[in-house]
Symmetry: C2
Subunit: 147 residues, 2 copies
DNA sequence: CCATATCGTTGGGACATCCAATGAGTTCGG
DNA sequence: CCGAACTCATTGGATGTCCCAACGATATGG
């Protein structure tokens, strides 16, 4: 017979949530060595990618609230990892860029994060890891594209 | 070349986290119809399973902080879904049990939660859903059993 | 020129997660 | 038998995520 708890614990939501929590913890611990939080790392990476980019763009790409983006960028700027310059043609926007220091920290953080992820996926074979990623990607895209 | 952002967003941790967030939202919305949060549902189910159980046990099984367990049980008890009785042989413990009302609510919540999960997994075929669950289960068990 | 919208920012609130500490009670070793 | 160490429930506080609302400054379309 199936118990109530098993019913919940076998629910995809529960399972995904637990795995996500442990993975999040691993990566957070790893990049804490560089003094960054998860979102700081993500914002730094996104900034590195999209060259000079506005805060609103960063928020949309990473699903981060504009309010929180302010705090994250304040922190990154205080550590000298990013720069906020006035946008040349639009007085409302900020053009955020990565400093050389930021690029260096980013490189180290990315390596740490990938190591943590490898550890999380260690129980699976390479093929299984690819399967998992493929399935999750489809769920993610479907959730992003409501209808 | 692989961009920094892609490097992060293709990280299993990121993907799992996003999927977990949307799944959590779906189930939370579904269960809200019964006036319960995710953790309330989980605690109610675990209490139903393990008969009279202590709060510390519940916390360990569901990975919930003792402090939060207090609040959850307060809420469930205020709604008449669970009972806190003094433990017969150990003065420190509470023996938590489910009331008939609690059992009824639990049954409805379980159905709602399963429907929401079905929606989350809708983009996948039945076989793919099983694959995903199997992979996640292995990751979860490995994370629970550190060494 | 004016209505509308966006941008960065500040403020507040709802929740979830985690760590620290306390008083009551239990257990175990000497 | 008694004290040390532990567990239990509870409270307090910190942080992080997400949502909603507002504001002044600025852009844009009609």
């Amino acid at each position: 017979m199936t118990s109530d708890l098993q019913r919940i614990q076998s629910l995809p939501t529960w399972l995904i949530g637990r795995v996500a929590a442990s993975g999040r913890g691993m990566v957070a611990d790893a990049i804490a060595a560089e003094g960054l939080k998860l979102m700081h790392h993500a914002v730094l990476a996104a900034t590195a990618d999209y060259g000079p980019v506005t805060q609103a763009d960063l928020g949309r790409r990473l699903a981060v609230d504009p309010k929180d983006m302010v705090g994250i960028l304040n922190h990154l700027q205080a550590k000298g990892l990013v720069l906020r310059a006035p946008h040349p043609s639009d007085g409302r926007k900020n053009a955020v860029t990565v400093t050389p220091d930021g690029a260096a920290v980013l490189a180290r953080c990315a390596a740490l994060a990938e190591a943590a992820n490898a550890e999380l996926l260690a129980p699976l074979t390479r093929d299984e890891q690819k399967q998992l990623m493929a399935l999750l990607t489809r769920l993610h895209e479907a959730a992003d594209t409501p209808a």
